[in-house]
């Protein structure tokens, strides 16, 4: 053993954000959700947000469990309804930074209607969509993001539906910030999250993540490490790409980057502007009570 003095023991940068009394978490070995949580923690530090004013809302699913593990005001809501809950929360207290952290099935299948409307209205929410192309928690059913040909328990002979192209869906619905990264791109994810936190409006970050136990195993795609290597090799960074062209095929190229970063009034701003214009001095802004 060294005779040199010890370094002051530091703390894992993610630790202050975890409900350590609930560790270890339930995610499988090699699941990418934990990796995204690391990025989230570091992004919260970097963006210098007041953590008492950050609220995290999740739906149901493996990614939906993130809210329960974060030491923030957190809400584990019903399947698909994280976004409207978050909308109520944000409208009621605009001081809050509201993050919706959920999976592809929760946000886009059952939650699809709420997703497009919140994007249309530009509700000031930060959507972290962890996309593992499957319904993990319930055992590996097909999702609206599952590529054609992939096997899932409810498409045992291969998925035959064209999947959603999430960045395209987000952009065309009106999101003001749209980015996609894979679990490999940890520094980019962190930076994207910081940008989203500082952005006013509906910000959408899709993170392609491995689900080793179900999606990868059933489709004989190797283990999580193989998939991370695949992300590294087959991803192409194209900032500003046309979101129409970023569809993902099974085993195909993954186009990553920041695709959309525009400005337009948020729902809260538009509401205030319109009501002030119509009512003039009679308008009582909702803040007070």
């Amino acid at each position: 053993m060294s005779t040199l003095p010890m370094v002051e023991p530091a703390i894992n940068p993610v630790e202050p954000f975890l409900r350590t009394d609930r560790m270890p978490h339930i995610w499988c070995p090699g699941c990418g959700i934990g990796t995204t949580v690391n990025c989230f923690a570091r992004a919260l530090v970097e963006s210098k947000l007041n953590l008492d004013k950050v609220a995290i809302v999740s739906g149901i699913g493996c990614t939906g469990r993130v809210a329960g593990y974060m030491r923030l005001d957190s809400f584990h809501t019903t399947h698909g309804r994280a976004i409207p809950f978050a909308t109520g929360l944000k409208l009621a207290n605009p001081e809050l930074s509201v993050v919706v952290y959920s999976g592809d099935g929760d946000l886009i299948a059952i939650g699809g209607n709420h997703f497009i409307h919140a994007a249309r209205r530009n509700v000031d929410l930060k959507i972290i969509c962890v996309n593992n192309f499957i319904y993990g928690m319930t055992g590996g059913q097909v999702a609206p993001t599952t590529p054609v040909g992939a096997t899932a328990t409810t498409t045992p002979y291969g998925c035959f539906e064209r999947p959603f192209n999430l960045p395209y869906l987000a952009e065309s619905s009106g999101a003001v910030y749209v980015a996609r990264w894979t679990c490999f791109h940890v520094r980019h994810i962190t930076r994207a999250m910081v940008e989203a936190f500082n952005k006013k409006g509906f910000s959408f970050i899709e993170i392609i993540t491995p689900c080793p136990t179900l999606y990868l195993r059933r489709n004989k795609l190797g283990d999580s490490l193989d998939t991370m290597r695949y992300y590294k090799q087959k991803s192409v960074i194209k900032n500003g790409a046309n979101t129409k062209e970023v569809e993902i095929a099974l085993g195909g190229e993954i186009i990553c980057g920041k695709f959309v970063d525009i400005e337009r009034p948020t729902l809260g701003q538009s509401m205030n502007m319109q009501l002030s214009k119509s009512l003039g001095a009679r308008y009582v802004a909702p803040g007070g009570r």
Binding site: D52, F75, T77, P84, T87, G88, A92, R282, G288, R289
Partner: protein, 385 residues
């Protein structure tokens, strides 16, 4: 505490039930509503949308009832006093979030202006066929409180009570109107703000290190908190412990869900409310609620003129059901005549509580219009024989 004058439209007005319901919410201090248009309830939120920007608060029309029913829960956890409004088909859609509100003990009010059903049914015509759904509609075990107004005045008065009960017991309260009461126009007197008693939200004064969102007080109800105050709390629909953390085992289920149902069951005596007319010497008791109670009154008048000793029992709080009182009455009276605008819902409760000691007759009606007093009179005559 007294009502905030900003929302109180003091004075004598000519309003329909929907409008009065909105004014009741405003007087109670509601400052956030989300809704989706559905006949015959839409006027409630239309009026709220027009009134709230000058009172202080907001309304948002969401993309469907699923979104409306959970947006209000989000707003409640940010500290707002919230409600939503719907009718039958929307009520069915909202069931999941009534359950979430019950499980997370979120104070809120759900208004159901009942119409003919099932399914799309009779959108513009009355019904009273959601009564059992109000009690059992969401999956799992839970208790809610449901009130049933029978006039626009009651739509105002009882809405304030609904919000007060929601805050007192930290749960969703259901406001079961019907299309008739909702669309009839009558005099509604709104008192000055200092004449309206409001039960304030029981925010905790404990520091974050000690506060537990689901640790009950002596009355079985935990204290509330809101996002943004540094409490770093967790709310989940999963079975949870006092900390709010998921705890999915039978012990925590027993501890939590039993407390949720007992919150209402153990306080039933304090919550139950009913109106009685001509009960003292009655041999026959007509049980009716909502608009049907007014038709029943006419039938009772006609029966009294024939010499039949009949009275009215009108549950105002329908859930929890006035079980104790029905049991007491069943010892004294010959029969109950249950008049409702459905094919039999609350009659089962009456029959259960009467336990065979008094006969129970149903005068049913599928909705679309109210009963004819003659039909009620026939039943009264039949059981009085």
């Amino acid at each position: 505490m007294k009502a905030n004058p900003a929302g109180v439209l003091t004075g004598a007005h000519f309003l329909d039930g929907d409008q009065a319901c909105c004014e009741g919410a405003l007087a109670a201090g509601a400052n956030f509503a989300a809704g989706y248009p559905i006949t015959p309830s839409t006027e409630v939120v239309e009026r709220f949308a027009a009134r709230i920007p000058t009172v202080g608060g907001l309304f948002i029309q969401m993309e469907d009832e699923l979104a409306s029913s959970i947006a209000i829960l989000g707003a409640a956890w940010a500290g707002k006093k919230v409600f939503t409004v719907t009718s039958g088909p929307g009520f069915s859609l909202m069931m999941e979030h009534i359950g979430l509100a019950a499980m997370t003990e979120t104070p809120c009010v759900f208004v159901d202006v009942q119409r003919g059903g099932p399914s799309t049914g009779l959108p513009t015509l009355p019904g009273q066929a959601d009564m059992m759904q109000a009690r059992w509609g969401s999956h799992g075990d839970y208790e809610t409180i449901a009130l049933c107004p029978n006039s626009p005045q009651e739509c105002f008065d009882l809405m304030i009570d609904a919000f007060n009960l929601a805050e007192q017991y930290r749960l969703p309260v259901l406001f079961m109107m019907d299309e008739c009461v909702g669309h009839m126009t009558e005099k509604v007197v709104i008192p000055p703000a200092d004449g309206i008693e409001i039960f304030p939200r029981r925010f905790t004064s404990l520091p974050p290190s000690e506060y537990k969102p689901f640790k009950p007080g002596a009355d079985g109800v935990p204290e509330m908190v809101k996002a943004g105050d540094g409490y770093r709390f967790h709310i989940t629909g999963l079975t949870h412990d006092e900390q709010g953390y998921p705890a999915m085992n039978w012990r925590e289920q027993e501890k939590l869900v039993r407390r949720l149902v007992e919150k209402v069951r153990k306080n039933t005596d304090k919550i139950v409310r009913y109106e009685e007319r001509d009960i003292e010497d009655a041999e026959v008791v007509v049980v009716a609620y909502g608009i049907t109670s007014r038709v029943a009154l006419r039938a009772i008048q006609m029966a009294r003129e024939e010499g039949i000793r009949v009275g009215l029992l009108r549950p105002i709080v329908v859930w929890p059901f006035p079980e104790k009182h029905i049991r007491e009455l069943s010892e004294k009276v010959k029969a109950f005549v249950v008049v409702e605008m459905n094919y039999g819902q609350m009659v089962y409760e009456v029959e259960r509580c009467a336990a065979g000691k008094a006969r129970t007759e149903l005068v049913d009606h599928g909705g679309g219009t109210v009963h004819e007093p003659e039909d009620v009179l026939k039943a009264i005559r039949e059981v009085a024989r």
